[in-house]
């Protein structure tokens, strides 16, 4: 550390270059006080390592190199992927070093972070990568020891001959083993035999993160690069005039460039750019429609009644069901736009050199970054390289490539390597939001309180299909109609953690609660009745596994003591998304006539839990995210521009607003089914239903704190 401080800028850059690449796992706080342990540098290990496959190399020193191809943004993939490879290899985890792989379509597939899909997609190939290498090490060991392969076992980086007690370290076998032909088929372990998977392995980047090493895109520096910030237009507007005279006067600003409706300020460091940006005078004029929140509110009402809807699903005859219903329940729910607002604002480094481009930065979709850049510059995709840094959050915003392509374009114009940094204000106003959506639900009930008809219509602003038409409760109702209406807007939208379901789940699960209570049924029993119907006699096609859903519902009821304590007002919610199932119960108790949110219990079925600490935090983090945005966060528009531009007005959840969260997993041995998103959708509904139980107030719009009803009771949050 002291060395780092003393070094000059140049030397620091060298450190930056390697530290971003790879790191020790299992680091020792006391450093090298064990004289027996000879620690090789990453470069030494890499130079010696014998390659087995795209994921895996092993050096004669026994150090195991595992490449993690997918972008790491906090879902812990850089730790959990290597765990899977190491498991089947029977590696000594202390000797594993993890490196972030660059984009490489020949070696890897689906090198992206989105849809909670990385682990389900790669589970088997990661296991095979480890198992194949283990097999080759066994073959090499058998020939060295001149014994039969089935007399051999592996454990913690060694091959063991049980009869003779002989052991050979993997490092001593790699020269031979890596020359052998890989087998077509290998057997994989039974999940009950896992030794690394299912244990709490610490994040491989801990030491780098906690000592301030340059890991993130914003930390990237290249000798000779310039910095830039860009003034982008409001939505639906184009530049009318640019007066950059004052901006250019700021010391440290070297250039102001207008391109593509953008004005870029260029300099060697960041502060002059932030200053100059405030002095830039750009006027805009409409380029199509310019929208404000009032327009959206009006559109929601209009389109809900007479918008042209796309029928997403139709079962039976809803009109008939509603006309003969003993009771009809109807409600509308609405949510605002949201910004992704990762803590690390958007940024990217680009260097266009003739017909070649080097890209470095935080992206969820390196391949899209490459393709869009190649397209823009009209060069072959293989001329574009993408180095993936750690991402300071993504939440879906970094699935786009707008912030990459503009950096490449600017580098070409300037003929220099450039890093474009978005200020927080740029990040919040520069687009691609969670779309605003309004839903209308209607339920028809017979005399016995059975749901005989169900209608859902969603209206979204640039939301695409606002429904998940084959999810629950589809399959459990004879007569059902699901429709979606879209309004095309110049305001850009994008997937936002648990796209669509981040709001649909809250609306639907609140409505189900309304329906259950309207017919005097317990909300959990009511859901179970519907699930039984979907199980025994399903209506049409369904995309969820009824048994898995029932299990999380029943387990959550049990773990939360559902309905057992009259002093605890509980709200229930369950949702299936991204292949996984999560049920949640929120507990509210009255203290001094005031409702206090005390606890959220969550039961998750995501199949095999690869890393329990990581998984636990994915669930808690998802709940904090779901709760924060349901309760506090709003984004409104005025003339094509968000009103909220930074964290002073865009309210994110803070530590004191987080209740106790009790996390449980279903242990069923099913292959992993995704965990980065599924815990978020149910949270808003669980809280809203508990609030209703405690106060009789039904919250039908988000954020809760801005609803009139909310001010009448003022929810408190009790922490641990």
């Amino acid at each position: 550390m002291a060395d780092l401080i003393k070094t000059n800028r140049r030397d620091f850059l060298k450190i930056a270059g390697t530290a971003a690449g790879g790191l020790f796992i299992g680091f020792y706080w006391s450093g090298c006080d064990s004289p027996k342990m000879q620690v090789l540098s990453d470069d030494e290990v890499l130079a010696q390592a014998h390659n087995f496959n795209a994921f895996l190399s092993i050096s004669p020193s026994g150090d195991v190199v595992i490449y993690s191809p997918n972008p790491e943004l906090g879902q812990n993939i850089k730790t959990s992927f290597p765990m899977v490879v190491a498991e089947e290899l029977d590696a000594d985890w202390e000797k594993v070093r993890v490196f972030q792989a660059n984009l490489d379509n020949d070696k890897f597939d689906r090198q992206l972070t989105g849809g909670s899909g990385a682990m389900p997609h790669s589970w088997e190939r990661l296991r095979k990568a480890g198992a194949t290498a283990r097999h080759l090490l066994l073959v090499a060991a058998a020939s060295q020891l001149e014994v039969d392969m089935d007399e051999l076992a592996t454990e913690k980086g060694e091959v063991i001959h049980k009869k003779s007690g002989k052991k050979i370290a993997y490092g001593d076998l790699v020269a031979d083993a890596s020359q052998l032909e890989a087998p077509e088929d290998v057997s994989l372990k039974h999940h009950k035999d896992f030794k690394i998977i299912g244990t709490p392995v610490k994040n491989v980047d801990n030491k780098a993160m906690f000592t301030g090493k340059p890991l993130f895109g914003l930390d990237f520096y290249r000798e000779g690069m310039v910095n830039a910030m860009i003034q982008r237009p409001p939505f639906g507007m184009k530049i009318k005039s640019v007066d950059d005279s004052e901006a250019k006067k700021v010391p440290g600003v070297t250039d102001v460039v207008t391109f593509n409706n953008n004005v870029a300020i260029v300099g060697n460091t960041t502060w002059p750019l932030l200053k100059a940006k405030k002095l830039l005078k750009v006027t805009y004029e409409p380029d199509g429609t310019v929208e404000s929140t009032e327009d959206h509110d009006r559109l929601f009402v209009e389109l809900m009644d007479k918008g042209k809807a796309q029928v997403m699903r139709k079962d039976g005859n809803v009109d008939q069901a509603f006309s003969k219903a003993a009771k009809v329940v109807s409600a509308e729910y609405q949510c605002p736009f949201l910004s992704h607002s990762p803590m690390e604002p958007q940024n990217f480094f680009a260097h266009v050199k003739g017909d070649k481009v080097e890209l470095v930065g935080p992206t969820q979709t390196p391949d899209r970054a490459r393709m869009e850049t190649a397209q823009l510059l009209d060069i072959p995709t293989e001329n574009v390289s993408v180095e993936i840094t750690r991402l300071g959050g993504g939440f879906g915003r970094r699935l786009r490539a707008d912030f990459v392509v503009e950096a490449a374009e600017l580098s070409k114009i300037l003929n220099k390597p450039v890093k474009v940094t978005w200020s927080r204000e740029d990040d919040m106003t520069g687009g691609a939001y969670r779309p605003a959506v309004r839903y209308k639900f209607q339920a028809a009930l017979d005399e016995e309180g059975n749901m005989i008809g169900y209608k859902l219509r969603g209206v979204g602003i640039n939301a695409g299909n606002t429904t998940r038409e084959n999810n629950f409760p589809s399959g459990s109702v004879d007569n059902l109609l699901i429709e979606s209406v879209n309004h095309s807007s110049p305001i850009t939208t994008n997937a936002w953690r648990a796209p669509i379901t981040n709001f649909l789940a809250y609306a639907e699960q609140s409505f189900i609660d309304e329906v259950a209570l309207a017919v005097d049924k317990d909300p959990v029993k009511f859901r179970l009745e519907l699930l039984d119907r979907a199980k025994n006699n399903p209506v049409g096609e369904i995309h969820y596994d009824v048994d898995r859903m029932k299990t999380v519902v029943e387990t959550a009821a049990e773990k939360s003591n559902w309905g057992k304590d009259a002093n605890v007002m509980q709200g229930f919610s369950v949702y299936f998304s991204h292949r996984s199932y999560v049920a949640q119960v929120a507990n509210i108790e009255m203290e001094n006539n005031q409702p206090v949110l005390k606890k959220i219990t969550a039961v998750t079925d995501c199949g095999i839990v690869v890393n329990p600490t990581g998984a636990n935090q994915q669930v808690r983090g998802g709940i904090v995210d779901g709760m924060g945005h349901a309760m506090f966060t709003n984004m409104t528009f005025k003339d094509g521009l968000p009103t909220q531009k930074n964290f002073d007005t865009y309210r994110l959840i803070r530590m004191k607003e987080v209740p106790e969260v009790d996390v449980h997993f279903i242990d069923n041995g099913i292959d992993p089914t995704g965990l980065g998103e599924p815990a978020l959708p149910p949270t808003g509904g669980a809280i809203a239903n508990a609030i209703y139980k405690a106060t009789g107030k039904r919250l039908r719009s988000q954020p809760f704190i801005e609803q009139k009803e909310f001010s009448e009771f003022n929810l408190e949050i009790k922490r641990v």
Binding site: D205, F216, N268, M343, G621, D648, K656
Partner: protein, 152 residues
């Protein structure tokens, strides 16, 4: 432009910058100490937290001209080997998701424990509430600060 002699992590650095340049950008752009993070720039999130004579301070709104001879400590200088009790607790509890906010969280927690070696949960929350974590690692931050206090 003016010349400033800054005491950072026990070393002296000379920089030639505009006087309104926030310490954050001096650290990141001029000295290559990028462990201190930029996120909001308006003293709302705590990602840029450093110690100024041991006090947790937002470096994004602190002009370099007002630092004077104050001792600045950044995450890079919190400990030599990354073994400050707070850093160890952060590893033990495995706090981070994306990790971007964590240098600021650690610096804030370290300053708190220096002043108040055994804070109550309420005191931990009062202090740590200044730092945003978009990933929602708040439960673990709480736990790690309490653990660091215990292990000190």
């Amino acid at each position: 432009m003016a010349n400033y002699s800054l005491k950072i992590n026990g070393e002296t650095f000379n920089v030639d910058v505009e006087e309104d340049t926030p310490l954050l950008w001096v650290l990141r752009d001029h000295l290559g100490l990028v462990g201190t993070k930029y996120s909001c720039g308006i003293a709302q999130c705590g990602a840029c937290t450093v110690h100024l004579n041991g006090e947790a301070t937002f470096s994004c709104t602190l002009p370099v001209s007002s630092v004077g001879s104050d001792e600045v400590t950044t995450i890079e200088g919190l400990s030599k080997e990354g073994d400050h009790p707070v850093q160890k607790a952060w590893n033990e509890v495995d706090v981070a998701q994306c990790g971007y906010c964590q240098a600021g969280q650690i610096m804030n927690a370290a300053a708190l424990l220096k002043k108040n070696p055994s804070p109550s949960m309420q005191e931990i929350e009062d202090t740590m509430n200044k730092n945003l974590c978009r990933c929602g690692t708040y439960h673990k931050i709480r736990e790690a600060v309490a653990l660091a206090a215990k292990n000190k």
